[in-house]
Symmetry: C2
Subunit: 458 residues, 2 copies
């Protein structure tokens, strides 16, 4: 056996949750080491280099009001925000026709009344969900025994509202409403706020005033890079963790970069990967079953770079909403701030990912650029650069952007989500009640977990 | 690197599917090795020794009409069947009251009309499902976007039919109707037959004339033991497979007992475990996502052994149906044939498993025996032996009895279920269209996969 190094706390995973937890533990005087499988920090946050010191994000990137945890962290780290470009019209593409519109809800005359009703009702139901224990909601069993799609189909009476919600879920869940529990979805919506502001689906969907309102100067990964710098040598890259062994006194973490023994471990990796660690003793079967079922959705980001954001001169904001049948489900102007190049970014989520992920790269590129052209005009067909980030191809993430729970999971196994296993605590965006699956949820979970470790008896 | 041994085909997993495939391949003249993680063969089939040469099964055990694949195999191996004890009354336990009844459907006056209607309708809908491509059913997208529970609640108008179907699913899925897709459930029911006999839920539920009609002399594991004997030294126990590496010419399987290189591999392990193998190149993300989502339900068998099957003298057949709220969901007379001891066996499936698995063993034993006593009388409280088999605690199975697909999974990813990945073919009870999740499905899948390997170009 190799010799174990020692630490007070080993944090596994240098994503936002793990780094936030590590930072809080170091601040509290603990001796901490962070083990990261990849050769970079940031997890689902990754900057793509555009040259000239400019970047475009290929992972999580948007923040907005009530996301006080991540906004507070950014302020503390000196990472400034700027507004997502939103001046001018968006474009709604349906049945091959493209139509300009203002605001966040596409002007579909048939779908709109039902969608409005459904959004109002989901907001009202979301307010009845006990955020920390959604499985105790009055109708928890019924709501968790139903898909979000069944409920939407009923409320919108088949007028197309389900398709439009699926456009949002394509990038939010990497899945469709057919795959998600109604209870999980109401809980997810209830969390799109903060302690003082009830969550609403409107805030989740919106750019101005919503979850897509702001971006970070220098790219979202800069948060992770600055946190790692502050951790000053405590982050070990290229250290995938294979085994976690504990007894009553300590816990040993075995990685490809060696073993560490600690009083506590913070496991800040996607739930499915937590289930795959070799555990001794074994993870409780309920927790193993839950983590295995919290599989990430499927998401890729496809981005095209142009000399300038040419669509802006046409009064377009680069945002597109594509009803079922297109390559991408939605797209945004993802240009860096200032007078630099223009970037269009499209989400290939859930159904779109499944349709396109297995096709030849040049076919997919062509289809994505044609979708971009439907929104931004024919100049979109000739980018100076095109890149893709397929999160399902990342062995240390296995999909994205988050794990929407299937029916039955939350009521059956939900209480196991955040429960420490002996000396091992779990953290990550999927362990947050507010902004579950978002950067804000990751920071909140990291901080909460650090507090729990500090409060735990040695 | 260690030296690889060579074979024409490496079969991973010595459960019924893997052994059947290996047997067919050897018969066709192929050089085969079977790698098994455990120190025994049989997978989900395991005999519990009662002494005096008698056994009671702690895993899969029942067979019945239309299960021609497993019945044919048993005949070929000289393993005889005998009828599950069914003479006399069953007992229905609801709200603390126990009531005797005949047949397979409990005499619940409120639930019965709705349940009958629901069963007739699910049989009718099941006949419309294209068995080999359920995702092409006319209403596939809608049915896969709905839970089985939502549909049952609507058809039975909340009169309790859902609860009674959940009793069956507790042992059939190890889960509730709230967790399963309607489309998957209709496909599952459609498969409860054979090429000449349409599947029905009635056949799945029934003892006489149904899937619980027969048992095997010597216990179901004897099928695996005899197959392994016929494979004569080709089965390597204690050989968990960690990695599968392939190029265009061959495939190498790395196990704790060494590496083998072959022309083809049959991976006959539970889908979730197939997803956890270290693959090079990586499993296609769609297949990885599918296998990860085909998580087994939760199932334990709890069995009590008595000097004799004393309940028979009271005109009881030892069968019990427990509506929600009890420890076990259903129970059977699991005595060996002849004049030996009496055995009562209760299923702790899905909801019941979750309620009881984490409790102290002696509390659970007490609760199970009290449930047995409600059916068989107070003598049931004092067995001469009590044992449990918790399938969720088996690292090489991870639950049981099978994987009921959640909503959205079949339409999104179903076509990937049986698709070979390069030189690797997949087998197992979860890869069968007829009797999916049953022994019969395992044998069918093993034979089909062997044929596919033989038909594949070298």
């Amino acid at each position: 056996m190799s010799v174990s190094r020692a630490a007070d706390v080993v944090v596994v995973g240098a994503g936002l949750a793990g780094l936030t937890a590590a930072d809080a533990l170091v601040t509290a005087g603990r001796d901490v080491v962070v083990l990261e499988a990849r050769d970079r920090v940031g997890g689902r946050l990754v900057n793509h280099d555009l040259g000239d010191g400019l970047v475009a994000e290929a992972g999580g990137q948007f923040v907005g009001p009530t996301q006080n945890q991540v906004l507070g962290l950014a302020a503390e780290l000196g990472v400034a925000t700027f507004p997502t470009y939103a001046a001018g019209d968006s474009v709604y593409v349906h049945g091959g026709r493209a139509r300009r519109f203002g605001g966040d809800i596409p002007p579909d005359p048939l779908a709109l009344p039902g969608l409005g009703l459904a959004m109002a009702r989901m907001n009202r139901l979301a307010r009845t969900i006990p955020l920390e224990e959604p499985w105790t909601a009055r109708h928890a069993r019924r709501w968790d025994g139903t898909t979000f799609a069944t409920w939407l189909r009923r409320v919108t009476a088949g007028t197309g509202g389900l398709d439009l919600v699926d456009v949002f879920l394509g990038s939010a869940y990497g899945a469709t409403a057919a795959e998600a529990s109604l209870l999980f979805s109401l809980h997810y919506i209830a969390g799109m706020g903060d302690e003082h502001t009830p969550g609403t689906i409107d805030r989740g969907i919106a750019v101005a005033g919503g979850a897509q309102e702001l971006r970070f100067h220098g790219g979202s990964q800069l948060l992770a890079v600055r946190l790692a710098r502050r951790l000053d040598g405590r982050v070990v890259l290229g250290a995938p963790v294979r085994a976690v062994e504990q007894d009553g006194r300590s816990v040993t973490v075995r990685s490809d970069a060696g073993a560490w023994t600690a009083r506590h471990v913070v496991l800040a990796v996607p739930p499915v990967l937590a289930a795959r660690v070799s555990w001794s003793p074994r993870l409780p079967p309920q927790q193993e079953a839950l983590f295995g079922r919290l599989a990430f959705g499927a998401l890729a980001k496809c981005e095209a770079v142009y000399d300038e954001p040419f669509w802006r001169a046409d009064g377009l904001n680069g945002q597109g909403v594509f009803r079922a049948g297109s390559t991408v489900c939605s797209m945004f102007d993802n240009s860096p701030p200032g007078d630099g190049p223009g970037v269009l970014m499209g989400f290939l989520g859930g159904r779109q990912w499944r349709a396109w992920a297995g096709r030849p790269a040049r076919h997919r590129r062509g289809a994505v650029l044609r979708a971009f052209a439907q929104v931004a005009g024919r100049r979109a067909l000739r980018p100076r650069e095109y890149f893709e980030q397929d999160w399902t191809a990342e062995p240390w993430t296995l999909g994205g952007p988050t794990a929407a729970a299937a029916p039955g999971v939350l009521t059956a196994l939900g209480p196991w989500r955040d429960r420490p296993f002996g000396r091992v605590h779990f953290a990550g965006a999927e362990h947050a009640d507010y902004w579950n699956g978002y950067m804000d949820g990751a920071v909140r979970s990291g901080r909460d977990t650090a507090r729990a470790v500090l409060a735990a008896a040695d």
